[in-house]
Amino acid sequence: MSTVEKVRIALEAVARAPVPAEDDASLFDAGVIDSFGLMEFIGELERQFGVKVPDEELTPRKFETIAKVAAWFDARKRG
């Protein structure tokens, strides 16, 4: 399963609106997650990837689109 697919599974679990087909669509602008949905989304991602996102990395910008989230976890895997 690709990283993007895993991100989408995590997102579907907490989405407050239909998940956009485009990986670079803003999840905030689309109403998919709000401030508290973001908190839940990160929890789901951590379960899905088995990785805890460090406190200093917890910025909304990093989680704004599916592509950005996938890039962060891919970089984490490489690093």
Partner: protein, 323 residues
């Protein structure tokens, strides 16, 4: 939180509690029109139904003074018994001297240290921690958390997420050396400025809050502060009878409580009535909990707060028979 030695205050007690809420009530319907949202949306994103607001001419010092008088009366002491006054606030009435100076003047308690801890949201907890460290040397410390948030909020639909949350109020307590009916077993505070720009207020400007960042950090730091506190004391959430959190947002309290596997019935909530009163909220909650019989002999409670700085912390209190 750091591994530095903490302030294990085994011999500090809280001997009096008080609070003051202004009489003005602002409901969601009133704010809905102002911010261009539905009243139901306000309730769903915050858990808040009403918040209090000062009357014209009523100041943060008025609220702080009334809360102080209530705490002094509850402790059965007079202002002349005080050894220090510490006020946590993010909304002082002027740059300096602070709310503490005005309270000291009104109480006619000269000759003792009086100072503000200028922090939004977490100021009450930081003031409590400071008092617990001071009281062995100075004697009874009057701790106040007081805010007039209505004076620093922008009123525009663009900032609706912030504008709907806050209310005015003050809470107070008296911290004394030695164990007692409500003993402060441990209190530990911490700060990390990595995200300090997520919650700030410049001179003459309205408060600015990046809610998403604040919520993410608050969620993490509150969980770690509480779990670390419990771990150090060999306790589990089930060993605690009451959790008194900074009353920031009901959704945040539910998230933190759920992650820590805390029985929701043990999480004190008054933000539905008062909104987020910033640095006053923890002390108001503690005062109301005490008055409601939720801090009775044999009970243990945890306090926890998060706020500007970012700052956070937690405290463990145990209740026993005695004064």
């Amino acid at each position: 939180m750091s591994n530095a030695p903490g302030n294990e205050t085994g011999q500090t007690r809280i001997s009096g509690f008080g609070h003051c809420l202004p009489e003005g009530v602002v409901d969601n319907a009133a704010l809905a029109a102002e911010f261009g949202v539905e009243a139901a949306w306000i309730l769903s994103v915050s858990g808040i139904r009403t918040r209090r607001c000062v009357a014209p001419g009523e100041t943060v010092c008025d609220l702080a003074h009334r809360a102080a008088l209530a705490a002094l009366a509850d402790a059965g002491i007079t202002p002349s018994d005080l050894g220090a006054i510490v006020v946590g606030t993010g909304t002082p009435h002027r740059q300096f001297p602070g709310v503490s100076a005005e309270v000291q003047k009104r109480l006619a308690a000269p000759g003792i240290p009086a100072f503000d801890i200028h922090l939004a949201s977490v100021g009450g907890l930081f003031a409590l921690a400071t008092a617990s460290a001071l009281c062995a040397q100075y004697g009874p410390v009057l701790v106040i958390g007081a805010e007039v948030m209505s004076a620093v909020l922008a009123r525009h639909p663009r900032v609706k997420e912030t504008g709907i949350l806050f209310g005015d109020g003050a809470g107070a307590c008296i911290v004394m050396p030695g164990a007692g009916a409500v003993t402060l077993d441990e209190i530990r505070i911490a700060s990390d400025a990595t995200f300090s720009d997520a919650l700030f207020m410049d001179f003459g400007e309205s408060m600015v809050m990046d809610g998403r960042t604040v919520i993410l950090q608050a969620n993490r730091k509150l969980q770690s502060a509480v779990s670390d506190l419990l771990g150090r004391n060999g306790l589990a959430p089930d060993d605690i009878d009451l959790f008194l959190f900074h009353q920031a947002n009901l959704n945040l309290l539910r998230q933190v409580g759920g992650a820590l596997k805390i029985d929701p019935e043990k999480v004190f909530v008054n933000l539905d009535r008062y909104g987020n009163t910033s640095s006053a909220s923890l002390l108001i909650a503690m005062s109301e909990a005490r008055a409601a019989g939720l801090l009775e002999p044999g009970m243990r409670a945890v306090l926890a707060a998060f706020g500007a700085g970012m700052g956070w912390g937690a405290a463990l209190i145990s209740c026993r028979a005695g004064s």
